[in-house]
């Protein structure tokens, strides 16, 4: 009966109840929108890290990443490539020779990471071909071609066909230089990487480094994101002398960002609900004050305090939960729409987004995995909101309430 009374009570003042239900729905929608946006952004960032930057897994000589010294090559690289390429979970394995050096032009110089790649594999491994905004891909018959990022091109005033010189140390610690001509300028969602990474062919780089056979890195793309740990363990067993790292270890800032963003989005959700709680408290307090005489009468007849508390508690829960499916539904619909069509955030500043490694087109994703937590936050809000009005109600003295 208390349940029935609570449900009917919230409809006694339809307008007031609808206002608070809609407030909760809008608040919940806002919370879900934030969660969906963050989830979309983080998913997109992780995809970029995996698909366009570091892959799922990387294999290096155990000493290579300490100082990026070119002498630490994977000497049996061909055998490694053959083994990993035959693993069923592996989609693609791309070798890279890597060193750091100085890029010089007539107007200045800049420190860069020089990536020696196998073009056909790299186009797929880091989507390098897709990122080209000017120029053309490596010409198989030409030597000493280089692809540079747009940010670096702007900084160094370089264009397609411009000449530049790369200077670095070879495997014997001798200073070597090579002149290169810009064949293409690329642009990714990560401006700092664009400014730092240049691409030449592995053949050109190995020739300058003095590596006759081998390379520094094997980058692996897997068929399934969930296989990372499993394949990493397999590789560690197969190549115990090498360093096998997952994208989480290579790009810990991305993993950290994903985890902290989850926390931030919950905090935002709690703040929204906390603000809404005042509205709920106000509504329920009005409901209690308006019904002082009725509650007093119920207590006079023998309704104990627990039941009066339960009545106000249930009314608050109903009021709050009535808005919940509406908020979730709007949140789901909006997320689904923008998940398909994308949300263009270029108006917020393209440079700002890309300087943090984010694209300006975000595809929000409904946070179904966080729905339980959202419901707990909403229910917690309802419980906290009902306390003050409910305590006010149970503290009524029937004899005084009946006089009103």
């Amino acid at each position: 009966m208390i349940l029935i009374m609570a449900w009917r009570n919230i409809w006694r003042n339809k307008m007031r109840s609808m206002v608070i239900i809609l407030s909760i729905a809008v608040g919940l929608f806002a919370g879900i929108a934030v969660l969906a946006l963050y989830k979309g952004m983080m998913k997109s960032r992780v995809r970029t890290v995996i698909d366009a930057e570091v892959g799922h897994l990387q294999i290096h000589d155990i000493n290579f990443k300490k100082d990026y010294e070119p002498k630490f090559v994977l000497t049996d690289g061909a055998a490694i490539l053959k083994t990993v390429s035959s693993m069923p979970a592996v989609k693609l394995a791309a070798p890279r020779s890597i060193t750091t050096g100085m890029l010089s032009t007539t107007t200045g110089s800049a420190g860069v990471q020089i990536n020696g790649v196998v073009p056909q594999l790299e186009y797929e491994a880091s989507q390098l071909k897709k990122k080209i905004v000017a120029g053309k891909v490596f010409d198989p018959v030409k030597n000493n071609e280089i692809m540079i990022g747009q940010k670096l091109a702007t900084k160094m005033k370089l264009k397609v066909r411009s000449k530049l010189v790369l200077t670095f140390t070879d495997t014997a610690s001798n200073m070597v230089s090579g002149a290169f001509r810009v064949t293409a300028i690329y642009k990714s969602d990560n401006t700092p990487l664009d400014e730092k990474n240049v691409y030449i062919t592995m053949t050109d780089l190995n020739a300058l480094l003095g590596i006759s056979n081998g390379f520094h890195e094997v980058m692996l793309l897997l068929k399934n994101d969930n296989d990372v740990n499993k394949v990493q363990q397999e590789l560690k067993r197969a190549f115990p002398a090498y360093q096998i790292e997952s994208w989480r270890e290579i790009s810990p800032e991305t993993d950290f960002m994903v985890k902290t963003t989850d926390q931030y989005s919950y905090i935002i959700m709690v703040i929204i609900m906390f603000a809404l709680a005042f509205g709920i408290v106000n509504t329920m307090l009005m409901a209690v004050l308006e019904r002082t005489r009725e509650i007093g009468m119920m207590m006079a007849l023998g309704t104990n305090r627990l039941k009066v508390f339960s009545l106000i508690f249930l009314e608050t829960i109903f009021l709050t939960l009535a808005g919940t499916p509406i908020g979730i539904l709007i949140g789901w619909g909006t997320s689904a729409y923008f998940n398909e069509h994308g949300l263009d955030l270029s108006g917020m500043g393209q440079d700002m987004m890309s300087s943090f490694g984010f694209g300006t087109m975000v595809y929000p994703e409904f946070p179904a995995d966080k729905l339980l937590a959202v419901l707990l936050i909403v229910t917690g809000t309802a419980i906290i909101s009902c306390l003050f009005p409910a305590i006010k109600a149970v503290k009524l003295r029937p004899v005084e309430a009946l006089r009103r």
């Binding site: 009468m297 007849l301 009946l402």
Partner: protein
């Protein structure tokens, strides 16, 4: 006869700190089982306060109230709620039904609080609505009922759990003559058939005329206590 209500030298004082006002002043009252008693007096004479003290809604500053021998003045607020539920039926002046419940649910609500099982509740509801002649209004909400009908439902609710006695505070104050007469008929019938003790405050002469006993309260003190013999609408009385 059994004494149901025994109020022993009870007083209720307001403004104790400044100028004390005695709402009820040293009242001594015995009500026996099955009595149909009217508590009369002008406004402000302390009728409602006395009913509140007897009903355990308020506590006296002096004296004791015993219900069936139990001193209720020593009970805690929670114990009083439980005591009222099990022992006392209330009919208030301004109808006081729960507006979101139907007439039937209003009566059933009290029985449900007592933990009466569903089949027994339904049988009792059927019986009571038969007695108040409102079997066709079971599913009506209070707003759909007239004042008299609401007050009849309130009486049915008060009697639902077969209390020791019913306290009615000005039950006919807001009713027209016909409704008041109907209500009194029903209360008298239930008093006779179920031996329910009724104590009601009133200054409605129609109610006073139907009472078996009339207690007059002035300035918080009982000034007269008269037994009358009443038949339906006749007005024959005799002094105690």
């Amino acid at each position: 006869m059994n004494t149901v209500i025994d109020a022993h030298n009870i007083s209720k004082v307001y403004n104790k700190e400044t100028i004390p006002v005695y709402a009820v002043n040293n009242v001594h009252l015995h009500i026996e089982k099955g009595e149909f008693t009217a508590l009369v007096g002008p406004s402000g004479s302390g009728k409602t306060t006395l009913l509140n003290l007897i009903g355990g809604l308020d506590k006296p500053d002096e004296g004791q109230v015993r219900i069936n021998g139990l001193d209720i003045t020593g009970l805690s607020a929670n114990q009083l709620i439980d005591f009222r539920l099990k022992n006392i039926g209330f009919v208030f002046q301004s109808f006081n039904l729960i507006p979101v419940l139907t007439a039937k649910e209003n009566v059933e609500f009290i029985m449900q609080l007592q933990g009466v099982e569903r089949s027994k509740r339904e049988a009792r509801v059927k019986q009571l609505f038969g007695q108040i002649e409102m079997t066709d209004k079971l599913d009506s909400r209070p707003a759909q009922l007239s004042g008299g009908q609401q007050q009849r439902v309130a009486v049915a609710r008060a009697l639902a759990t077969k209390p020791q006695f019913v306290l009615a505070d000005e039950p006919t104050a807001n009713l027209d003559s016909q409704s008041a007469a109907n209500l009194l008929d029903i209360m008298a019938k239930l008093n006779k058939e179920e031996q329910i003790t009724f104590l009601f405050s009133t200054h409605d002469q129609r109610v006073i005329d139907r009472a078996h006993r009339v207690i007059t309260l002035v300035d918080g003190k009982i000034t007269s206590d008269t037994a009358t013999v009443s038949t339906t609408h006749d007005n024959v009385s005799e002094k105690k």
